[in-house]
């Protein structure tokens, strides 16, 4: 007689934001095998980038790959085109780009933390973090005019400027958010019932992190020192106080603490940018068509995002390849699930912060 039971989660499930199907093979309470299916939201954006849209419009199309890290997608694409055209953008535009990228990272991490709490059964914390997240959404709306899909970055600079009054308003709001994040820090480290759900659950060791090619907060929680923001030179991250976060435990709690520390670091970076914003133009017109190949990497909220662009001097590109963070992390996900309790599966899944619309494109 067969001893295992198959339990599916998805493709439509209350704990999931997006359609993904996991098939858990369970022996009593333990999960012994995982099968995942991520292709429900495949739309064919890579093909459309080479057939339907011209190169100057694709920055706004690839933003629709994912709503949570939209600005990172358009930033990475824009950087690869700017590399091919060979123009230099102003210092102010660079700083404004970093500002929006970090605001995006803050609201994405807050969503992930709240979702982890909800899936662990702590509904009140979910509501608390989601309520505080609205401050960041308001800041984004003030700067760009839209809450989620702000098409802020264009080839040659950014689309809107900020003035002194707006900067002051944003600084006061960021200070409020910082106080609240310190409050979460206390809750996540000292709450006893949360520690039962998070500490020692879903462990990824350092060796396994290397073996399964984990990236982003998942890898940093296991002790891998990998952050693309530390390695790139086309955005001045080293000037504004970027600090690499690191933990060694590798469980859900470590991932949460990594995200909380990154929140604090991102808020600090935003403060530094707003206080020392240089004068100048926000947009320079770049002349010429892209020609050649380029590869650009960037740190999305979930890990390394890579774009490969091949152009032939005309308005249509030859190839756009998008390698998204969740896609690389799927082997590590499957490894963590085996051996865990089935009751912990939703919390573990939320702690990865998977983005399936990124993965399927």
């Amino acid at each position: 007689m067969k001893k295992t039971i198959n339990i599916p989660i998805g493709s439509q499930h209350i704990a999931l934001l997006e359609p993904v199907r996991f098939k858990f093979e369970c022996e009593n309470e333990k999960i012994v095998g995982v099968d995942s299916d991520v292709g429900f939201v495949h739309r064919g954006i890579e093909k459309a980038c080479t057939t339907k849209f011209k190169y100057d419009a694709i920055g706004y199309v690839v933003a629709r790959v994912c709503g949570l890290c939209a600005i990172t997608h358009s930033m990475t694409y824009t950087a690869s085109i700017e590399k091919l055209i060979g123009g230099e953008i102003t210092q102010k535009a660079k700083y404004l780009r970093i500002l929006l990228l970090e605001l995006d990272r803050i609201h994405s991490h807050m969503l992930c933390l709240s979702h982890t709490c909800e899936n662990a059964g702590f509904e009140a914390m979910f509501m608390r973090i989601m309520g505080d997240r609205e401050d960041i959404m308001e800041i984004q709306e003030l700067i760009t005019g839209n809450r989620v899909q702000f098409d802020y970055i264009s080839i040659g600079g950014v689309n809107r400027d900020i003035d002194a009054a707006l900067a002051k308003k944003i600084l006061s709001k960021l200070e409020l958010v910082r106080q609240k994040v310190l409050g979460y820090m206390d809750e996540f480290t000292n709450n006893w019932s949360l520690s039962l759900k998070f500490k020692g659950v879903g462990i990824l060791t350092l060796d396994d992190a290397y073996r399964f090619n984990a990236i982003g907060p998942l890898a940093r929680a296991s002790g891998v020192q990998a952050d693309v923001r530390n390695e790139i030179d086309y955005l001045p991250y080293n000037e504004i106080g970027f600090k690499m976060q690191k933990h060694t435990e590798g469980d859900i709690n470590a991932r949460n603490l990594i995200r909380l520390n990154e929140l604090l670091n991102s808020i600090e970076m935003c403060n530094n940018i707003l206080e020392g914003l240089p004068e100048g133009e926000i947009f320079t017109k770049l002349r010429g068509k892209p020609n050649g190949e380029s590869v650009v990497r960037f740190e999305a909220p979930r890990g390394e995002l890579m774009y490969y662009v091949k152009a032939n001097g005309s308005a249509m590109l030859e190839r756009v390849r998008i390698k998204t963070p969740t896609f690389s992390s799927i082997p590590a996900f499957s490894h963590i699930f085996t051996g865990a309790n089935y009751a912990d599966a939703p919390a573990i899944l939320a702690s990865f912060d998977p983005c399936l619309s990124c993965t399927a494109k």
Binding site: P19, K52, R64, G67, Q149
Partner: protein, 180 residues
């Protein structure tokens, strides 16, 4: 005695399905349920169960692989039900229109009652759409509660029998005209 009837409204429970959207509209629906907009205080609860829900919120242009699930969920929902298309790409296909793995919009598959535009739709727009959906739900409920005869009289309009009869009549008239 105070009359409660005009104030009382049904609390619509919603079922949310992502049919290939970019997550933008999904997090805005989540923001609707969070403390700032808080539609849960009006009894709007996000259920994961199609058999208990009244309003079907769909985001995303319908991708090939999500079609079956979409129709399955729609058929599992009990009558009366209202379908809301949230986001530009759900209404018309939007930026994904004519991509190879995408059906252009939700209304090619299931009848849509409320269209909520925007990329991504803001929470205010989604709440406005839900208020509209509530009105439609009420009218649909009334329609269902109406008593009806199993064998309708032929004189009533909009019955199949009546339409067939009138169609025959038109045909006869034309033949008569030709004869004349």
């Amino acid at each position: 005695m105070f009359d409660f009837k005009p104030i009382r409204k049904k609390s619509p429970w919603i079922l949310h399905y992502n049919a290939g959207s970019c997550n933008g509209c999904d997090i805005e629906i989540l923001a609707c349920l969070s403390p700032k907009y808080d539609i849960e205080r009006f009894g709007v609860i996000n259920t994961g169960n199609p058999k208990q829900s009244d309003v079907f919120l769909v985001t995303g242009p319908v991708t090939f692989r999500s079609r079956e699930r979409l129709i399955e969920l729609y058929t599992q929902m009990p009558e009366p039900k209202v379908v809301m298309a949230v986001g530009s790409c759900t209404c018309t296909g939007g930026v994904f229109r004519d991509m190879y793995n995408v059906e252009n919009g939700l209304d090619r598959y299931i009848p849509v009652d409320v269209y909520v535009p925007g990329c991504a739709s803001s929470p205010e727009l989604i709440i406005d759409g839900l208020v509209k959906a509530l009105e439609i739900l009420e009218s649909k409920t009334k329609e269902i509660e109406k008593p009806f005869k199993l064998f309708r009289e032929a004189s009533l309009d909009n019955t199949i029998v009546n339409r067939r009869n009138s169609a025959l009549k038109v045909g006869e008239d034309t033949t008569d005209d030709e004869k004349n």
